[in-house]
């Protein structure tokens, strides 16, 4: 049976409300924040949560917000930060001189060693992922 590409629902389902989804994301983030880098648990947990969200996102049963049919010329503004970030990341990666000219992930690594910061990063990642799934 075909499902419509863009579904809009008047009354959100119980599990789809922020009062349910936000605590769930917080719990998942607190667990993720306890898992150290390069551990098998962290790899499995990232692959598991991300895989589940991709499965939900590709499943047309989840209600989505309508997408714009075209973007205005104002969209080019987004190229400014994206290009700056991309050029810097590319340059730091290609030059590969370590802490002298570090990549973004090299700068973020020491911050992400703290469990609270790591949990916050998990929450940001999962929240944005959930937002993409709903789009």
């Amino acid at each position: 049976m075909d499902h419509p590409r863009e579904l809009t629902v008047e009354a959100p389902r119980a599990w789809d409300r922020p009062v349910v989804s936000v605590p769930v994301l917080i719990c998942l983030s607190l667990v993720g924040g306890q898992l150290p880098s390069f551990s098998a648990q962290a790899n499995l947990y990232t692959l598991g949560t991300g895989g589940a969200l991709i499965w939900i996102g590709l499943n047309n049963r989840v209600p989505r917000r309508p997408a714009p049919r075209r973007l205005g010329r104002g969209a080019v503004w987004w190229l400014l930060p994206a290009t700056l970030f991309g050029v810097l990341e590319g340059a730091t990666f290609v030059l590969a001189v370590g802490d002298e000219f570090p990549t973004f992930s090299r700068l973020a690594d020491p911050l992400l060693e703290d469990h609270l910061v790591r949990s916050a990063a998990w929450f940001a990642w999962l929240s944005a992922f959930w937002g993409l799934v709903r789009r």
Binding site: L58, L71, G72, T92, L132
Partner: protein, 70 residues
């Protein structure tokens, strides 16, 4: 010196993301929000395959794995 350049550049890029998102959310703005840009990209399909959706999900998945598991 180069380290400061990298840190300053990355912070500037992140600040620009925030400023443009703020500008996009103003009443009557002609700039689409980042969510709208992502939604537009995710509309792209090749035949029955939602290539844009798969691509963006895959990118975000990889990003989380890169920062949170590696």
């Amino acid at each position: 010196m180069m380290r400061l350049l990298a840190i300053g550049g990355f912070l500037t890029a992140l600040a620009l993301f925030a400023v443009i998102e703020w500008a996009a959310r103003r009443e009557g703005s002609r700039i689409p929000s980042l969510g709208e840009v992502c939604a537009f990209v995710m509309r792209y399909e090749v035949g029955p395959v939602p290539v844009g959706r798969i691509g963006l999900f895959g990118f975000w998945w990889w990003l989380g794995w890169h920062f949170l598991a590696r």
